[in-house]
């Protein structure tokens, strides 16, 4: 199939865009049918469906990524849409005060720092170490930031999604164990350490949890995306020269 369509590149672009869209819609339906279970997350399911189709049609991942480049391009403008929840929650951020922002920054630092330390101690490949640093921030910012610091954006996106899913899966027993009953605190920690997937889960915990999750997601996302390139460029120039 990939050979037959090389004469008509735009046709295979439309074809794979539609197949991706169909996979997404099917994944959403399956997820809703099973009551929105986290381990059946739409991103996970639709990626598996697309991978299955790629295998069936013997189409390679590289040319697929190129053909659906439009979707990846749209991530840029879609990320700008995050400014709206930030604007909406400015008052809440202001009211929450510097201490709460400090908690978000601490949580946002701990997640990637611990992951990096483990990988560093086991001397894993350098590109992998650079790809885990954005694990707690929302996928579009993580992709862009990882590309800038020289990690692998695709692997980083995978790590971000795994982090989000794991965070939601462990959150319920963890909150019970630590006796966390305040829904704002639950939301804040979910948004900070599990970005958009955590925030989607926090919405099910109530309005307050959802608002604080959004605050955590936004502040950690902006802070990490802004600080990481700066820190790494300072470090590399310090080591390099």
């Amino acid at each position: 199939m990939s050979d037959g369509l090389t004469a008509l590149p735009w046709l295979s672009e439309i074809l794979w865009l539609s197949l991706t869209l169909i996979a997404y819609v099917i994944a959403l339906k399956i997820n809703r049918f099973f009551g929105g279970r986290v381990y059946l997350h739409a991103i996970l399911l639709s990626s598996v469906l697309v991978l299955a189709m790629l295998m069936i049609f013997a189409h390679d991942i590289g040319s697929y990524a190129q053909q659906v480049g439009l979707l990846t391009w749209l991530l840029g403008p879609a990320t700008c849409a995050l400014a709206i929840p930030v604007f909406r929650n400015l008052r809440l951020i202001y009211q929450a005060g510097f201490k709460v922002i400090g908690v978000i920054l601490l949580g946002g630092l701990l997640g990637p720092a611990i992951t990096w330390l483990i990988l560093y101690l086991f001397t894993s490949p350098h590109w992998l170490q650079l790809s885990v640093l954005t694990k707690s921030i929302t996928t579009p910012l993580a992709i862009d930031t990882t590309r800038l610091i020289g990690g692998n954006p695709s692997v980083a996106a995978g790590i971000v999604i795994v982090t989000g899913l794991m965070g939601v899966l462990v959150s319920r027993p963890l909150f019970k164990l630590l006796n966390i009953h305040n829904s704002s605190a639950k939301g804040l920690s979910l948004g900070t350490s599990s970005h958009a997937i955590g925030t989607a889960h926090a919405i099910s915990l109530g309005e307050k949890a959802a608002a604080f999750a959004t605050v955590g997601l936004c502040i950690n996302g902006i802070a990490t995306a802004a600080m990481l390139p700066l820190i790494l460029s300072v470090l590399s120039s310090a080591i390099g020269t």
Binding site: T20, A23, Y24, A42, I43, L44, S46, L54, I61, V68, L71, G76, P77, A78, T79, A81, A83, I84, V86, F87, R88, A96, V103, L106, L110, G111, I114, I118, L119, S124, S136, T139, P140, L141, D144, T145, R147, L148, N152, S154, V155, A157, I161, M166, S171, L174, L178, I180, H181, N182, S184, A185, L188, S189, T192, S194, I222, A225, P229, S233
Partner: protein, 123 residues
């Protein structure tokens, strides 16, 4: 008709902010999408409100953003063989760090928020 025109304008506004961010990223060493987000935020701060159509379009964009991740996530599968044995260490590291950061953030936030809100426990 006018409604759709406004929605189209909102989409163009998002694209425009991103393009400005992309342009700025040549001079400022920050991710283009972060700069775009900050451009949009400064626009909102200066007009002090969110236009209805922008609200509709951005809510829709944020809700269906998962669709836009699919190519990148599918791309990650190509690196599974590169990861090889590192995959298990990576998963373990992610699990450990996520549990710790979640626990510490929730615990500290509860201490701070309960004190400041004087909220009834077990809401």
């Amino acid at each position: 008709m006018k409604h759709y025109f406004h929605l189209l304008l909102a989409v163009l506004a998002l694209i425009f902010c991103w393009l400005v961010g992309d342009y700025l990223s040549v001079f400022i060493k920050l991710p283009a999408s972060l700069l775009g987000l900050l451009v949009m935020l400064s626009v909102l701060l200066s007009i002090k409100r969110v236009p209805k159509s922008l609200d509709v379009v951005s809510a829709w964009a944020l809700r269906s953003m998962a669709l836009l991740f699919i190519p990148v996530t599918v791309g990650a599968a190509a690196y599974l063989t590169d990861l090889g044995a590192w995959l298990w260490l990576l998963l373990l590291a992610i699990l450990l760090s996520t549990v710790l950061s979640l626990a510490i953030t929730a615990w500290l936030a509860q201490k701070l928020l309960v004190k400041s809100e004087v909220e009834s426990a077990g809401e």
